[in-house]
Symmetry: C2
Subunit: 161 residues, 2 copies
């Protein structure tokens, strides 16, 4: 996301993995929350494809702040140690959907094993409204805080979700 821009994104659960997943790019992602402020500001570290970042994100709201800072391996390990009990692991597959759209399909592991979600980012509100999900995509959970990664890391899978 462009820090100055507005992200138009929808999120869905996934009923079954689509065919041809082996041919897509897949990255293992480890993510740990270093601190979550009382006002919802989150500070997390993430390791993906050999690259580590520290991200500070404001709580969802009208003026969104998101800063992603590259960090080296030593710093990642140090900060990761502060995230115990607030971690998630997942493998992200980039699945082309046609019309220039790409689905980010996340296959969670560890305590969240069994959870599959997909996020699609759109170039415009019109493209978002016109989107017809492929058959393997299930219930929409856009904006559902229980499926935010912060919440999944802290509270695990929503009951009956």
């Amino acid at each position: 996301m462009d820090p100055a821009g507005v992200e138009i994104e929808r999120k869905f659960l996934v009923d079954a993995l689509p065919d041809g997943l082996d041919a897509t790019r897949a990255d293992r992602i480890e993510q740990g929350y270093v601190a979550i402020g009382a006002d919802g500001v989150e500070v997390r570290v993430r390791r993906r494809a050999g690259t580590s970042t520290l991200t500070v994100k404001s709580a969802p709201g009208e003026r969104r702040v998101e800063e992603e800072i590259p960090i080296d391996d030593r710093r990642f390990a140090s900060l990761w140690s502060l995230s115990e009990g607030r971690r998630i692991g997942k493998t992200r597959h980039l699945v082309p959907l046609g019309s220039g759209l790409t689905a980010e399909l996340d296959v969670y592991d560890g305590p969240l094993e069994g959870l599959l979600t997909v996020e699609v980012e759109f170039p415009s509100l019109a493209a978002s409204a016109a989107f017809v999900p492929p058959p393997w995509v299930g219930r929409e959970v856009t904006g559902d805080p229980r499926y935010a990664n912060q919440s999944l890391a802290l509270h695990g899978l929503p009951p009956g979700g």
Copy 2:
């Protein structure tokens, strides 16, 4: 502080500013807390002498983590906006004390105006124990959580402190 090392530091209130302060190096410091986790992990941004840093610190405890990451002006401004209501401003004077020791004398401003503290770091426990504070140094507050900058930013001056 060397991240791998152990810091031996004592903190005192200051009764009156020492003479000759104009001749010491003085830096204005602005510090804002971006997030403070429920377990005490703090994430703060600081601007000092034209340099900005993001610091992540574990809660006080046996295994201390402290990571200081340089950030640029744009990132500082962005993260600073997340610290509203959790900020302090102070001018730090470096006052030579003899025996190779330097006092970090902080003169707070804004809502904390009137507060003066001094911190001295020692090369050894023996040097710390042998330290005789100069006459302008007042009551010791080493380890008093009410005088930690995080607490001062959140709660202001301790009542009657």
